[in-house]
Amino acid sequence: MSNFGFTLLKARRIDYDANDRSIADFIHDNEPSFRWCIECGCCSATCTSGNYIGFSLRELQILLKRGENEEVKEKIFNCMLCGKCILVCPRGVNTRNVIALAQEAFKNKKQHAV
């Protein structure tokens, strides 16, 4: 194939219909409060890990809901599960379980892939 000195870029946009939302579904099936988020960002603001690294549950959970799993699959493991986010969430989302389930789902996916 020819090389013209530039490449075709992957679209930045989220293709909702083409994306795989099985991880979000898995989380929701096991933790219904996953749906209650209103993206206030309180969890990210109080986050112990977020104090050191760009870790935002607010961002990661919505990426999962959109099926942008690639962006989440590594970042989600930066959580220390300390649980501060549970205490500040205004909607009573069981944030720790959301993260633990997401981690589990990614691990399972990796295992199945192998």
Partner: protein
């Protein structure tokens, strides 16, 4: 001799004003442009936040104006209002000349014509409908696409004709958010496997029990909320509505194919009200709604002594607020009449 009051507009506000004035010993003439009283509520199926059937409100209002001191003229447009000494003369489209001691303007609102947001393709794409169209579908109990199929992916576009400089409306219509949520719930109730997506700029759930309804929609009906204003809609080869929006919370553009798109039309000053504003030299504000003398304590008073406002001709309101505003207007009218006779 009884005081005579003319109420222009037989919607929720007008009917409430007429009924309450009649109870307070006034002779009321209620003028309604269309063939029926009831206004927009008649086109609505259920009301938020408790999903009360709108017919209950209509029944209440109809009972209220069934009064010997109220004469109702339907199919009657107002041509102009003239002050003659101590009283007003209202000339109607059918050539009547009516006299009154005071006038209450309750011309209400017009629903934003969704076709004005061209990029959403209302009236062009088969399955782009307005919130009012959806209410009719609820009433007829058939939520169907043009080809007769049941939709399974439905989008609700908030702020159509509200908070939008491009259509000349910078204000928030404030009821569309909760209407969208109410309608989303209603859709999932009828089509349990349907996925509903609300595209919003802000979720404004200021009323009593609105926020609770919002959570219910998330929790029990799985309604998805995507923060971003829909930029454009197009149709693909399978008649899916390809909807483009920025998912502002991921900071990424998002593309989604939907079966049906519901445009949450905002509220605008009624054209009939604007006509009256011109003929009677009533002040209107930047948003084209009637401008009351004071936002805090004079929200029913116009710049013309003896002419009062009630309801959504002054600003977007829900039914509760409209009825309260109408009752407040009645007090202003009675005060005015008392002061005059003293």
């Amino acid at each position: 001799m009884k005081n005579k009051v003319i109420v222009i507009g037989g919607g929720t506000a007008g009917m409430e004003v007429a009924g309450q004035l009649a109870k307070h010993d006034c002779t009321v003439t209620l003028l309604e442009r269309s063939a029926e009283t009831g206004g927009h509520v008649r086109d609505w199926y259920h009301l938020f936040p408790d999903r009360k059937d709108s017919r209950e409100v209509i029944n209440y209002l109809e009972n209220l104006i069934r009064h010997k001191s109220i004469s109702l003229f339907t199919d009657t447009d107002v041509n102009d209002i003239v002050r003659e000494n101590d009283f007003f003369v209202v000339r109607t489209s059918d050539g009547k000349e009516l006299q009154a001691d005071a006038i209450v303007v309750s011309t209400g609102f017009d629903l934003f014509r969704s076709e004005r947001k061209e990029e959403y393709g209302y009236g062009i794409y088969d399955n782009v409908i307005s919130s009012a169209d959806l209410e009719k579908m609820f009433r007829n109990d058939e939520i169907k696409l043009q080809n007769g199929n049941i939709p399974s992916k439905i989008g609700m576009v908030h702020c159509v004709g509200s908070r939008d400089e491009k259509v000349g409306n910078v204000y928030c219509s404030k009821l569309c958010c909760v209407t969208a949520v109410k309608q989303a719930i209603e859709i999932v109730k009828r089509i349990p496997e349907a996925k509903v997506f609300c595209f919003y700029m802000d979720i404004r759930m200021g009323g009593a029990l609105y926020e609770e309804l919002y959570k219910e929609a998330q929790q029990d009906y799985g309604v998805n909320f995507i923060r971003g204003k829909v930029s454009e809609v197009s149709q693909d080869i399978d008649n899916k509505l390809i909807t483009k929006v920025e998912d502002t919370l991921t900071g990424r553009p998002l593309k989604i194919g939907l079966d049906m798109l519901v445009l949450m039309a905002g509220m605008e000053m009624a054209e009939s009200g604007q006509k009256i504003a011109l003929s009677a030299e009533l002040d209107t504000g930047e948003n084209r709604f009637f401008k009351a003398t004071d936002l805090h304590y004079g929200s029913n008073k116009s710049n013309k002594n003896g002419i009062f406002y009630a309801g959504t001709c002054t600003a977007p309101m829900n039914i509760t607020e409209t009825i309260s505003h109408a009752r407040a207007a009645v007090i202003d009218v009675i005060d005015y009449l008392n002061d005059r006779s003293n």
